[in-house]
């Protein structure tokens, strides 16, 4: 009997040690992978050549490949109509999840509720529609404008500022991305005590050449201009160039925002942008991936419990710039 017990104990000990050597399988992980494998996601960004959408796509595709679900990319190439068609087609295909970048708050509102009513989960990306869906994940536009406003107020409120005159460059005056930013910007100026004068608020239609000529004209009128605030880095490269051309880089404070592609950090380093509010596309891509995995697992019916997540903003200047502040397109492929 003793012998039997002993041998059993030895056996148990060896098994346990053998188990410890081979590790333990995490059953939750197996279930996680199991739930995600074979799922289908349709991704409809606004286009596929902006830095942001290229970064998002790289992130979602990589995670999908790792976890065994598919991402079908539909590129409407800036066309809202093509986007609506892609969304309609996606709804009829009944995928497990749709990831959608709204061009504005209105255009896809009805299609979004249609998708949710049919039980398709839907993530809105970087632009909220009036109709909420399972998740909004993306930039905090009002917060970006607010941060820019705080920085401008700090700079132009200082005693050595040339004046309290500020010029604003918008994309188009009706785009919510622009309007949210302008609201936040003006709110921050107001909270800082006012006295700031907005001498120009012009739309440059996201075209750097237009931003350049508008800013050049404004600088001619107001040689004591304190700051230029623009709503998108791609366009504000032109505004910054106009300031440089006028030889006023030292006196005019240029503030813009963007997704922290390498091209923008170059402009921060060379002084074209004095202050850059970064809504890092890498952080957005990572946040989006979390939401995609979470919704693909969730048993909650579509549209039951809408949540939002605004990705954090970072203020970048020449002095706070680090090699990891921005990302390059090569980085995305690594």
């Amino acid at each position: 009997m003793k012998k039997v017990l002993l041998s059993l104990a030895v056996l148990a000990a060896t098994t346990v040690s053998a188990m410890a050597q081979d590790g333990i399988e995490n059953e939750k992980r197996a279930a996680y992978l199991d739930q995600l494998a074979g799922k289908r996601v349709v991704f409809i960004p606004m286009n596929m050549n902006a830095d942001l959408s290229i970064a998002w796509n790289a992130y979602v595709q990589r995670q999908a490949a790792e976890l065994g679900y598919t991402i079908d990319l539909r590129d409407p190439n800036w066309s809202t109509e093509a986007g609506a068609r892609a969304l309609t087609a996606a709804i009829s295909e009944k995928p497990d999840l749709i990831v959608l970048q709204n061009p504005d708050v209105q255009s896809y509102a009805r299609l979004i509720s249609q998708a949710q009513n049919q039980g398709i989960k839907l993530i809105q990306l970087n632009m909220e529609s009036l109709t909420p869906s399972d998740t909004y994940v993306g930039a905090d536009w009002q917060g970006i404008g607010y941060a820019a406003g705080q920085e401008v107020a700090k700079h132009c409120g200082a005693p050595d500022a040339p004046s309290k005159k500020i010029a604003i460059t918008m994309g188009v005056p009706t785009a919510p991305v622009d309007l949210f930013q302008i609201y936040g910007f003006k709110k921050a100026l107001e909270e800082a005590g006012g006295g700031f004068e907005i001498v120009s608020q012009q739309a440059a239609a996201y075209d750097p050449s237009k931003a350049n000529s508008i800013t050049a004209a404004v600088l001619q009128q107001h040689s004591d201009l304190c700051a230029v605030f623009g709503i998108w880095d791609g366009m504000d490269a032109g505004a910054g160039a106009a300031v440089k051309e006028a030889g006023m880089q030292d006196s005019v404070y240029v503030v813009t925002s963007g997704g922290a592609a390498a091209a923008s950090c170059e402009k921060i380093a060379d002084g074209t942008y004095d202050m850059y509010i970064s809504y890092d596309a890498r952080k957005q891509g990572a946040a989006l991936n979390v939401q995609v995995a979470q919704l693909l697992q969730s048993k909650t019916p579509a549209g039951q419990d809408p949540v939002v997540y605004y990705t954090p903003n970072t203020r970048l200047t020449k002095d706070t710039l680090s090699p990891s502040s921005c990302w390059s397109f090569e980085d995305l492929e690594k």
Partner: protein, 349 residues
Amino acid sequence: MTGNNSSTAAQTPAATEVASPSKGRRPWYTRMTQESIVLLLATIMFIGFSISLNNFFTSGNVITLLRSVSVLGMLGLGMAITVIGRGVDLTMVATMVVGIVWALKLHDAGLSFNMALLAACGFAIVVGLIIGIIVAFAEIPAVFTTLALGPVIFGIGNFAFFTEDTHNAPTDVEWLRNLGFDRILGVPVSLYIFALLAVLVWGFLRFTRAGRSVYAIGDNMLAARHTGFPVRPLIVSKYVISALIAVIVGLIVVATNSGINTRLVNTTLVYDVLLVVVLGGIGLSGGRGGVRNVIVGTLFVGVLLNGMTILNLSYTTQNFIKSLVMLIALIAETLLNPRDEQTSQSGDI
């Protein structure tokens, strides 16, 4: 013939007025061409803004004004050549963006910037040849050919040459920075390039055999062919020239903005260019007009945009006024120069 500009007189038969003295001289205001109407409007606006706006009539602001429309004007020069030859090139902006961005990418990859620019010019020549061959030999109207090819050119560029939309100017090319930011005698270098290009195009249209032939083709292609003009090769070279001009303008854009954004293709820029050309008085029916018309159209748009920017008018108001003023110019031209037998038979484009 009554609507023709004097610059085409060499190509057109003797004016009808001279042939029929019984008609008598018409009052001065009916002899105004679109060009002179637009020039008059531009002058009125210029004087009006100079009086009503502080800092409008300063050398700094006038230079800013000219500089802001120089890209429009330079593209207009290329467009003018195609329109005078009774065509149109709606691919100019796509060619400009793809060509110059390809050069930037090649330079990033290690090629010297000059070689990269040569490659871009090579690209423009290929694009021009393709458009020209389709228009001249397949005889598909230029407006459809170029309308369809614009997205094709951008698509090829986006597929083969680049993926992202923002491209910075290289920092290691000294002359590019000088081109964008230097001034000679207080005038930006880019304005000298505009002037130089204007003189070159003017010289081409006025003094070269090919240039004169462009008018002949634009005026009456069949007659030109029967007379023995090499119509098809001339049409092809017209599009090669406009594509090359597009790439040169792309270089100026990169230099003055320290970079370029491919989203330019999605803007209305190419139609703005066409508008400058038509507004200046180069009829879409071809065969008339010249560099002077492009300059007048460009000045008009420049004064209007600069004044409205200084007034800080809203985007919608600006668009409204812009459209209204342009409509007035077009209506005035139609009223003063009713469409004649020839234009109504051949139609526009």
